[in-house]
């Protein structure tokens, strides 16, 4: 489909460098869905989600062992290879063990002018909202210091509106998976590009995409739900599509988790509104307890008409690996078959994954 969102992911480094040239602005990298990018944007900087590549790991193996989540490790690998030289700053949220390790490792190995550890609470509670609101105030202050100018409330308001607008269009696009058979790979590519492009630019691309998607031929695969710990590219979704599956709904960071919830524009305390959205409304299993997470997943699954669930958890992802037996049991009890992958995100897995996905689809299709 046009615009071909996947090329923005592919060219993200060139795009970021070009943006810096054009605007003279600073690029701030970040991990995970927990970081309120609106604040970075309001500071006049470009927030970019770090994404990895599936390359040989001999360089990064010097810094990290084998049995760890491959996603942050792959991002670090890209940095070692100089791909992220244009970053002026990095924000590491308090999420999981491996992402937290990025803070210390970046500190030791690179010298970024701005390296910020965002104290995201690891529990959802009203006390956590209070604390996170304060922390976002500190974060804002740090961005102001780094940027050399204050972030006006109005500027922040506009940023929140802009990001909400982009999320709304992503929601509309993702709904087309159900109503118009739009391939999920297109939606995931749209999300990934939103994570690396200036939001204004992405918003325009989304408008184009929605106009065109209305006329695109529908996919006709078996409707499936995808739950993933982190897929930082759309290859796996494409594989499912090649095997005859059609993802109609998902629960994953480079998917629904990125755009499902908005920041409350009516809350006069903008930092609190951000704290609420980023702490309470994202079903990240590091914070959201399994029962609550499952309830959300089931809501989405049941509304989508999916006939089975594929769960893809990256190796060593404790947060998702512990949930898995519970989710599997509950889904199967509701007559929803589950196919599980413990992924390494290497190319050699693909053949076995393909065979398993084809078998899964063949069994459900009957």
């Amino acid at each position: 489909m046009e615009p071909s969102f996947d090329r923005y992911r592919e060219r993200r480094h060139e795009e970021a460098r070009a943006w810096k040239e054009r605007t003279g602005g600073k690029v701030v990298g970040l991990f995970c869905c927990d970081v309120p990018e609106e604040l970075i944007h309001a500071a006049g900087m470009l927030p970019v989600r770090l994404l990895g590549e599936h390359e040989d790991t001999s360089e990064v193996d010097i810094h990290f062992p084998v049995n760890v989540c491959p996603y942050p490790k792959a991002c670090f690998d890209q940095a070692l290879k100089g791909q992220y030289d244009y970053l002026d700053g990095l924000v590491v949220p308090n999420v999981c063990d491996m992402v937290r390790a990025m803070f210390g490792s970046w500190q030791i190995n690179f010298s970024l002018p701005f390296l910020y550890f965002l104290e995201v609470p690891q529990k959802i509670s009203s006390q956590g909202i209070d604390f996170f609101t304060v922390e976002l105030g500190r974060f804002r202050g740090a961005l102001e210091d780094f940027g050399g100018h204050p972030i006006a409330d109005d500027t922040l308001r506009q940023a929140i509106r802009l990001f909400n607008a982009d999320r709304e269009l992503l929601r509309q696009l993702s709904a087309l998976r159900v109503t118009a058979g739009l391939p999920a790979s297109s939606v995931q590519d749209a999300v990934l590009s939103s994570m690396v492009l200036p939001k204004e630019q992405h918003l325009e691309l989304m408008k184009e995409a929605l106009a065109e998607a209305a006329t695109a031929p529908p996919a006709d695969g078996l409707p499936l739900f995808l739950s993933a710990s982190m897929l930082d590219e759309s290859d796996f979704v494409r594989l499912i599509e090649e095997c005859g599956g059609h993802i109609v709904a998902d629960d994953m960071p480079a998917g629904t988790r990125y755009f499902q919830a908005d920041v409350d524009e009516d809350d006069p305390n903008q930092l609190r509104a951000l704290a609420r959205r980023y702490l309470e409304d994202i079903p990240c299993p590091r914070k959201m307890l399994p029962e609550a997470h499952l309830a959300r997943l089931l809501d989405m699954l049941e509304a989508s008409g999916a006939r089975g669930t594929i769960i893809h958890n990256l190796r060593a992802c404790d947060c998702h690996l512990y949930e898995y037996p519970y989710f599997k049991k509950e889904l199967e009890a509701r007559g929803l078959p589950v196919l599980f992958f413990r992924g390494e995100e290497t190319a050699t897995e693909r053949e076995q994954q393909r065979a398993d996905i084809e078998a899964f689809i063949e069994i459900i299709a009957g």
């Binding site: 076995q352 065979a355 398993d356 084809e358 078998a359 899964f360 063949e362 069994i363 009957g366």
Partner: protein
Amino acid sequence: MAGEDVVAGIDVGSHNVSAVLLSPTGILGYAILASAEEGERAAKRALAQACARVGHASVPTVVVATGCGRGSVRFAVRESSEVVCQARGAHWLFPQARTVLNLGAESSRAVRISPDGRAAAFATNDKCAAGSGRFLELMARVLEVPLEEMGDLALAADARAEVSSRCAVFAESEVISHIHRGLPKAHILAGIHVAVVDRIVEIAGRIGVEREVVVTGGLALNRALLAELESRLGVPLLIPPEPRIVGALGAALAAMASPK
């Protein structure tokens, strides 16, 4: 024989290609070849050989392909996954089958079969762990024992060395350690078989073992493995007369059910 009623199933595996000819009265014949060549050619050869063996003049036109190389069999009317074919084939042979353990050269899988004979759930072996024929082959090389003799030697052992089942690389270095320490080959072999069975039991556990249990694939010819597996699962194992053609049989059954 009515030629038009004969269909075929082909299983293009990584090590072997097998073809089964099926008529409304049952299995007409089959062939198993080592697949040293490109998938479609090997499939054609296997099919031709099966036909030649039973004097069947014309090659059936309705053919379904399964196995990891099924995509290359362009003359097949359709493909079917190994999981589904194993379930179908095992159930046809043993209508009481509710679990099939397919122990192949490259990979192993456990499949739950529903009472109506269809695959209901499955679990496949993690590629890098012990549990497949490839692992045994590797060990055969390390121990310098012919693959076909491994099972019998292991059966004769009166003790077993410990061999890890988690990781083939780790297991290999353990075995080398055992060799250096002078442990008898038979003991090491016994340990290797235990490791393979550990993995099989683990994947079987993921779907739950329900009787009757059928074992298929090349490893179903290994008596040491079967003895250990039966003891660990605590249920009798049903072994087809030719365990290596169950996938192709399942594909042939799919061909039989195809609309003409």
